[in-house]
Amino acid sequence: MTRDEVRQAVVSILADIAPDEDVSSIKDDVTLREQMDLDSMDFLDIVMELRKRFNVEVPESDYQQLVSMASCVQYLQPLLKDRQLAS
């Protein structure tokens, strides 16, 4: 997966978790919580969806890496580089 594809994968997860939000306008360098209505249960959903969709485990100590889109992509790209973005 390229960085762009990783971003696309995260956007797709967020679209499912936060169906009332416009995910097309997420700013990469602003924290997700500042621009979307997300709580701790939602972040657990992100972790669960990464597990289900890509078999990627995010340990609790790394949850802070999911704080913004930029940090998500930075953190996940090495983990997802050999995975395919589901069609």
């Binding site: 169906p19 009332d20 249960m41």
Partner: protein, 414 residues
């Protein structure tokens, strides 16, 4: 105890919010009951394929965001819809009231089966690895879930809980609301019952294993209480919530009043897990009559529990003959012949369908009573078409459930 003496102890219904398989508000529901419109249809369920069920089609997004729907439960969604509608109908403005003085009391037959079945199904796709079990399972399955979702959605900070009372739960939710108002614990009660039962295959499978799941090639004819050809229950979802308040408060704000709850009773058969016991049922009806200071003959409409199981109907009819036998002015109907068994919602929903009789004088009929089972003989069953009584003063509602929990409510014309 006769509570009619002290006006502060008189509790009235000032709002009704409901979703039934044949209507999403009281007007639609009543119209369906007067015109013979069933709400039973074919329904796909996991592992069992096509079954018959009463399915609701209210607009869940009217009061909830998509995210709330994703996170919450069907029962929570039904409850939120009904509670908003109940306050809307009562013309209560959420912004203008003290929400710490509102109690949410919802009857449930069961809760959590749907969500647990869904998670087991979910992890079955991952070789039953429990790390795929959702973190949402706990909040979705705690027994107070439906009432709790209401408080989150409506920002109500008074007490909320559910009352588990099998198929008597809808009445028990209302009774709880009445009691809490009389105790002065709250100033407004959102009280009733909800059910998401059809979203679990287990309830269909279990009734089938008991030999008590209704079947018929025409879904609208499947639920046939008192009929010789009845063959069991149609499972349904639904919800009904009342706005309850003290008569003094209701009069002060000039509220529309549907009726006054003048009597109720609950007791237990202490007899069997599933089989009903007519002696205790009759006793429960008499307890409610005594509390209201009424004689059996004072009741104008008796809405029977009438689930259409073989034995259940026979036992209830014995109890009804015991209490009302020879009373020529008591007219009997049931609601499950239209909508099936809405479980936790049944008591409140079925009572609601009769409350407009205070205005129009009509007893809605029972459907599908083509040939009365002689063992269900009652003098005054209203069947096929509505009956005009002219004036209706008292309505009694029966709801009975497994483990022999019996509940009766009597509402008086205001």
């Amino acid at each position: 105890m006769n509570n009619k003496v002290n006006p502060e102890q008189r509790i009235v219904i000032t709002g009704i919010g409901l979703t039934s398989p044949n209507g999403n508000n009281l007007k639609e529901f009543r119209e369906s009951l007067l015109t013979g419109k069933s709400g039973v249809q074919k329904f796909e369920t996991r592992f069992m394929g096509e079954v018959l069920a009463g399915v609701c089609d209210f607009d869940a997004l009217k009061y909830q965001k998509k995210k709330e729907l994703r996170r919450g439960t069907r029962a929570g969604s039904v409850a939120i819809y009904c509670c908003h509608e109940a306050f809307g109908d009562a013309e209560i403005d959420l912004e203008a009231i003290d929400r710490s003085r509102v109690g949410v009391y919802l009857g449930v037959t069961e809760h959590g089966n749907v969500e647990t079945e869904n998670e087991v199904h979910n992890i079955s796709k991952y070789d039953y690895d429990t790390k795929y079990w959702s973190h949402h399972h706990n909040p979705r399955t705690v027994a107070n879930n439906p009432a709790g979702e209401v408080t989150l959605n409506m920002k109500i900070t008074g007490p909320h809980y559910t009352i588990g009372a099998a198929c008597a739960a809808g009445n028990m939710g209302v009774i709880q609301g009445v009691q809490m108002l009389r105790l002065g614990e709250v100033d407004l009660a959102l009280a009733g019952g909800v059910s998401e039962s059809i979203r679990t295959f287990g309830i269909f499978a279990s009734f089938k294993s008991e030999g008590a799941l209704a079947e018929h090639e025409d879904p609208t004819k499947a639920s046939r209480p008192f009929d010789k050809q009845r063959n069991g229950i149609v499972c349904s979802e639904g919800g009904c919530v009342y706005t309850l308040e003290r008569l003094t408060d209701a009069e002060k704000r000039g509220a529309k009043i549907y009726g006054e709850i003048v009597g109720y009773a609950a007791n237990s058969d202490a007899f069997d897990f599933i089989l009903p016991e007519p002696g205790r049922q009759a006793e429960c009806m008499r307890l409610a009559l005594n509390q209201a200071g009424l004689k059996a003959g004072d009741i104008n409409i008796l809405n029977a529990h009438a689930t259409a199981t073989q034995l259940g109907d026979i036992q209830e009819c014995k109890a009804l003959r015991d209490v009302f036998g020879g009373e020529k002015s008591v007219w009997i109907n049931n609601t499950k012949s239209f909508i099936g068994h809405t479980m936790g919602a049944a008591g409140t929903l079925e009572l609601s369908g009769n409350l407009p009789a205070f205005e129009d004088g009509l007893v809605h009929p029972t459907l599908n009573l083509d040939e009365l089972d002689p063992e269900c003989h009652l003098d005054n069953i209203v069947s096929g078409a509505p009956k005009q009584l002219g004036r209706v003063d008292y309505i009694m509602n029966n709801s009975f459930g497994m483990f022999g929990i019996n509940s009766v409510i009597i509402v008086k014309r205001y």
